[in-house]
């Protein structure tokens, strides 16, 4: 009798009932209610609602979908099935590819150098909090402007050509890499920095003896990722801003000569280059790690 009373006084029994949730059919729910789960649901619902709203309000200009899709399918077959160069030679196209590659390389090198020092101002664990805040918002602004707009803005100041393309691409690379580098630096063990500080190491000694060795592999991986992005961006910039390289050939083939076969051939060249870069990047990442 007394034992029974004891168990009734224990709050455990009541607690379980309170927290046990059941579905309408009486099954016990096995998932816990969490803030994150609700947030995910709200986000997904909002995104889907926006999508539906978008599809309902877009101005389609009375396009004949069936005809357009069929036409695109036929064009795609020509594009990928019968590549042929008429306006370009293979050597010329490969040279243009090299130009695009160089544009990507130059902007990545500039971006990486500037971003390294920028990240030192930005990383929370070494920088002054006020300086870090200012740098972060400045970088967010640079990142928010699309690459192509930077290129076009610099085209006015520096004239059409590689200078505008490289500097435009560099701006966005800086914004991206500063954020990435700062995050890698922030992951450096706080104890190492403290130990070096306690032993009287200067700022640059801390940077080169503690930060760089422990975050260099991550930074290299980010740099290569950015190089891949810069390469594809250089193609796009060449097409939209006339900055030269293989992108400009793509634009000419598509919007000037209206030659699908030429477009197809250049696409295959770009495709091969991008895949080679990816293989190279994976190899280097594996080696650095």
């Amino acid at each position: 009798m007394s034992e029974l009373n004891m168990t009734e006084k224990l709050p455990v029994y009541i607690d379980i009932k309170e927290y046990m949730r059941k579905t309408r059919s009486g099954k016990i729910k096995t998932t816990a209610k969490s803030k994150g789960g609700i947030a995910i649901r709200i986000t997904i619902f909002a995104l889907v609602a926006l999508t539906v709203y978008g599809f309902l309000t877009f101005d389609y200009k009375d396009i004949d979908m069936a005809k357009a899709v069929a036409g695109t399918w036929n064009n795609a077959k020509v594009l990928f099935g019968q590549p042929k160069l008429t306006y370009n030679t293979l050597a010329g196209a490969l040279k243009e590819l090299l130009v695009t590659f160089s544009l990507g390389a130059l902007s990545t090198i500039f971006g990486a150098i500037i971003a390294f020092f920028g990240a030192l101002l930005c990383a929370k664990n070494i920088a002054n909090p006020i300086v870090s805040g200012i740098t972060k918002s400045f970088v967010a602004f640079i990142r928010a402007v699309p690459t192509i707009l930077w290129v076009l803005i610099f085209t006015v100041a520096a004239g059409l050509g590689s200078v505008a393309a490289v500097i435009g691409l560099t701006f966005h690379s800086c914004g991206y890499l500063i954020k990435a580098y700062a995050e890698s630096i922030e992951e450096v063990d706080a104890g190492t920095i403290e130990a070096l500080k306690a032993s009287g190491a200067s700022f640059w000694q801390i940077v080169f003896q503690a930060m760089l060795p422990s975050s260099i592999s991550r930074m290299t991986a980010w740099t290569f990722l950015r190089f891949e992005i810069n390469f594809t961006n250089a193609i796009a910039v060449g097409a939209a801003a006339g900055a030269g390289g293989i992108g400009f050939d793509l634009y000419m083939a598509g919007s000037h000569y209206f030659d699908l076969r030429e477009l197809g051939f250049i696409t295959y060249i770009v495709f091969a280059a991008v895949i080679l870069l990816e293989i190279l990047a994976t190899g280097i990442k594996a080696k650095v790690k």
């Binding site: 995910i40 986000t43 795609a76 160089s102 402007v145 707009l149 490289v166 796009a236 699908l260 770009v270």
Partner: protein, 287 residues
Amino acid sequence: MQSKQVNKKVYNDKTENNAERAPRPEKQTSIFVKRKRSFTLVFLGIIALFAVSALITEYNVITGFESIPKAVVWMAKQFIPDAKAWSRLSSILKKLAETALVSVAVTVCAAICAFFLSLFGTKTTKAHPLVARIVRIIAAFFRNVPDVVWAMLLLFSFGQNILTGFFALFFATFGMLTRAFIETIDEVSASCVEALYATGATSLQTVFNGVIPSSMPEIVSWVLYMIETNIRSSTLIGMLTATGIGYLFDLYYKRMDYGSASLVVIAIVILVIAIEIISNRIRKVIM
């Protein structure tokens, strides 16, 4: 005297012994030498790459540095919204809203397709290895054909329509997300999937009770990131296909109406930063 000599001899012997055993300590110090050497090599390699690239693209370093202050001065003088620009604000905002909606719609549609495809590409669902390989090849294909090519191809049949930009972005996003989802699912849900299979769950049950709940935060985070990216790329695609905010910028820019063009840039910046802040908030809650 003698003892000193003996001592010296002993000492010499010691050093000789040390010299014999030397390889070990020498190797230890050589790590630093090696590091220095490889650092120098990488440094020289980067300089060589820089020189060759500058030569190929005819990039002039001095002009490059000079152009930055020039551009800043020019922007401060001309690239400021004037009265004419403010009168166009409503049309700019309308196009901006359209671009934002397109990028959300593209990302959501691409994410749904990519998720279904990625289920066949992961190890967790135990799809046939051949199927998984085909899925990966499809993803690589869509990812590596530049969006410029898709835009050009679609322009032939779709013309200057909102759907041209939509599909061009869709293909590129689809390729990106498929790879990202495959990696995420493999990484995040490996352990709980194994546990579910051990209890005898079927593939479908595993997907619904293991894969989806455990990988959903990462997937939503990827989708938010792609929306941000797509707003930026839709500016470029818009220029090529004459749709959206990119077209508006191109129009003002070519007319040398820099005041209005600058207002377009400011509008894009505000939109992108707003989306970044919202997605960071969401990420903080769900991760």
